[in-house]
C-alpha cells in the first residue's frame, strides 16, 4: 500500500536500507543515493523530450490541418525514436576556423542548464530532487548559464550570422528576464519564501487567483525566454539564416533542439509550481502520487497553451519585441509589485488579515492595471508610424509579368 501511495520515497528508502546493509559508511550511502536519484531524474527529463517532440509535431500538424507523424507505430509514436537513431549517425560538419572549446561546450551547456531546473522543482509532496531554500533565484541563475551557452555557440562558430543571431537572442532573453523576475517577486512576497517547495505549501489559494496580471506577465515573459512564437526570433530562419545554431550538425544540433523542447516544458512546470499551486489538490498530501497527477495535469494545460500560442501567432519584429518588454511589461510589472505591496500592508495595518477580504481588492488592482496596460498598448499601436512604401508599383509574380512567356 505504501508503494502505491508514494513509490519514489518507498524505493529511495529501500535503496538506502540496502546500501547501509552492505556495510558502507553513512556519507558514502548518501553520496550514492544522491547520485542515483540525480541520474534517474536527469535521464528521465531527457527521455521525456522524445515524447514532447512527438506531441508537438502531432499537435502542430492538427492545427495546420495535417495529420502529423502517423506511419511509425500507433499514432506515429515511434517517429521520434527513428529520428533519434538517424541523428545519432549523422556526420558532424565542423566548419573550418571554429573556436573548438566554446563550439563544443555550447550544446552541452544549453541542455544541462535547462535540466538543472528539474533538480529543484517539487513534483509532489515527497517527490523532488532537492528543497533548496533559494530555489527561485537558483532557477533564474541557471537561466544565466543558458544565455552563456548561446553566446558560446554564436562566438565559437566563426560565422557572422551565428554571432548576430546569438546576440539578438541574448538581447531578447535579457530584456524579458526583467519582467519575469519582477513578477516572480510577487509570489515570493505572498509566500514569504524563496524555496519552491515552500511556495507550493503556501498556496492555499493559487497565486494565479491572487495576482492574475502577474501570472499573465510571467507567462508572456516565459514565452520569450523559451523563444516560442511570437518571440521565436532567435531562430528566425527567414531573417538571419537560422540564428546561433547554423553551424551545428548531427547530435550537436540535436541537443540545441532538445534544449528548446525541454525548456518549453520546464517553463510550464515552473508556471504550474509558482502560480497554479503545484501538486496541491484534494488528498494530495496523504497520497503523494495523486499530487504528482494533479501537477502533471496543471503542467500539461500550461504546456498546451504555450504550444497553441506558438502555433497560431506570427513573429514580432525585433524593435517591437524589445519595446514590448521595456516600455510595457517592465513598467507594468513594477507598478503591480509596488501597488500590491502597499495596498496589502495598508490593509493588514488596518487589521484586515483574512485572505478572503484582501482577495477582491487584489483582483480589482490587477484588473485596473491590466486596463491601464491595454490602454497604453492600444495608444502606442495607434501612434506608431505606418510603414512608408515609396516608389511605383512593384512587380508581382503573375504570369503576364514574366519576360519569358510560356508557349
Amino acid at each position: 500500500m505504501d508503494f502505491l501511495k508514494d513509490p519514489v520515497t518507498f524505493l529511495a528508502n529501500q535503496l538506502v536500507l540496502w546500501l547501509t546493509g552492505l556495510g558502507l559508511p553513512e556519507g558514502v550511502v548518501r553520496f550514492l543515493s544522491f547520485s542515483i536519484g540525480a541520474a534517474i531524474l536527469a535521464t528521465s527529463s531527457l527521455l521525456f523530450v522524445i515524447f514532447l517532440i512527438w506531441f508537438e509535431r502531432k499537435l502542430i500538424g492538427r492545427v495546420q490541418d495535417r495529420l502529423g507523424p502517423n506511419r511509425l507505430g500507433p499514432f506515429g509514436l515511434f517517429q521520434p525514436f527513428a529520428d533519434m537513431l538517424k541523428i545519432f549517425t549523422k556526420e558532424y560538419v565542423t566548419p573550418s576556423g571554429v573556436d573548438p572549446v566554446p563550439y563544443n561546450l555550447a550544446p552541452v551547456l544549453a541542455v544541462s542548464s535547462v535540466m538543472a531546473i528539474w533538480a529543484v522543482i517539487p513534483f509532489a509532496n515527497t517527490i523532488y530532487g532537492v528543497d533548496l531554500d533559494v530555489g527561485v533565484v537558483f532557477v533564474l541563475a541557471v537561466g544565466g548559464l543558458a544565455q552563456l551557452g548561446i553566446i558560446l555557440a554564436g562566438w565559437g562558430s566563426n560565422n557572422k550570422y551565428a554571432l548576430l543571431g546569438g546576440f539578438r537572442a541574448l538581447a531578447q532573453l535579457l530584456s524579458y528576464e526583467i519582467p519575469m523576475v519582477i513578477t516572480l517577486l510577487i509570489p515570493v512576497m505572498l509566500a514569504g519564501t524563496l524555496s519552491l517547495t515552500g511556495m507550493v505549501t503556501a498556496q492555499d489559494v493559487p497565486f494565479v487567483a491572487v495576482a492574475p496580471l502577474a501570472a499573465l506577465i510571467f507567462f508572456i515573459a516565459n514565452l520569450a525566454e523559451v523563444s516560442r512564437a511570437p518571440f521565436d526570433l532567435p531562430e528566425a530562419d527567414s531573417e538571419i539564416v537560422a540564428g546561433f545554431n547554423i553551424e551545428y550538425s548531427g547530435l550537436k544540433f540535436g541537443f540545441f533542439y532538445v534544449a528548446e523542447f525541454l525548456h518549453g516544458f520546464t517553463s510550464a512546470l515552473l508556471f504550474a509550481t509558482v502560480f497554479l499551486g503545484g501538486w496541491r489538490g484534494p488528498l494530495a498530501e496523504e497520497i503523494p502520487i495523486l499530487g504528482f497527477i494533479y501537477f502533471a495535469i496543471k503542467t500539461s494545460l500550461v504546456y498546451l497553451t504555450i504550444l497553441l500560442v506558438d502555433a497560431t501567432v506570427p513573429r514580432f519584429r525585433i524593435d517591437q519585441l524589445l519595446n514590448f518588454s521595456w516600455k510595457l511589461l517592465t513598467p507594468l510589472a513594477l507598478a503591480l509589485l509596488v501597488a500590491m505591496a502597499l495596498v496589502d500592508r495598508a490593509m493588514v495595518g488596518m487589521g484586515v488579515e483574512s485572505i478572503w477580504i484582501r482577495l477582491p481588492v487584489f483582483l480589482a488592482l490587477n484588473a485596473g492595471l491590466f486596463a491601464a496596460g491595454a490602454y497604453f498598448l492600444d495608444r502606442a499601436r495607434r501612434r506608431a508610424p505606418r510603414p512608408v512604401v515609396s516608389g511605383g508599383p512593384r512587380p508581382v509574380a503573375r504570369p503576364e509579368n514574366f519576360t519569358m512567356q510560356p508557349k
Binding site: 558532424y92 560538419v93 566548419p95
Partner: protein, 118 residues
C-alpha cells in the same frame, strides 16, 4: 544545507555528462568525410567576406547595461520580498521608494532614446 549543494553539484555533473557522452558516442558512430567546401562557413551559398567576428554596435551594450541595473535591483528586492510578511507598511513604502528611484532611471533611458532599437 551542504547536502542540498551536494545534490545540486552531483546533478550538474550528471546533467553535463549525459549530453557529452551522447555527443561522443554519436561522433564514434557517424561518418567523417570533411572537405574544404563542406567545411566553409555557411552563408546560403555566398562566400564569406571578411572575418567571422565582426565589430558590433553599442546598442547591445546599452541594453545589457540597463538589464544589469535592474538585475541588481531585484537582488536587493528578493530579501525584502521574503521578509515582507513580517514587516509593516513602512517597509513597503521603503521598497516603493527604492523601485520609484529606479523607475526614474528607466524613464530617463526611455526619453534619451536608449531603449530604441536602431
Amino acid at each position: 544545507m551542504l547536502e542540498q549543494w551536494m545534490y545540486i553539484g552531483i546533478f550538474m555533473v550528471v546533467a553535463m555528462m549525459l549530453p557529452s557522452i551522447a555527443i561522443i558516442i554519436a561522433g564514434l558512430l557517424s561518418p567523417r568525410r570533411p572537405n574544404p567546401i563542406k567545411n566553409s562557413t555557411y552563408e546560403c551559398g555566398i562566400e564569406t567576406v571578411g572575418p567571422g567576428w565582426p565589430q558590433f554596435r553599442v546598442q547591445y551594450y546599452i541594453f545589457g547595461l540597463v538589464f544589469l541595473i535592474f538585475d541588481v535591483e531585484t537582488v536587493f528586492l528578493f530579501p525584502w520580498a521574503v521578509a515582507y510578511n513580517r514587516l509593516g507598511l513602512f517597509a513597503a513604502v521603503e521598497a516603493a521608494l527604492f523601485i520609484a528611484i529606479l523607475a526614474g532611471g528607466l524613464i530617463y533611458a526611455w526619453k534619451k532614446g536608449a531603449l530604441r532599437w536602431l
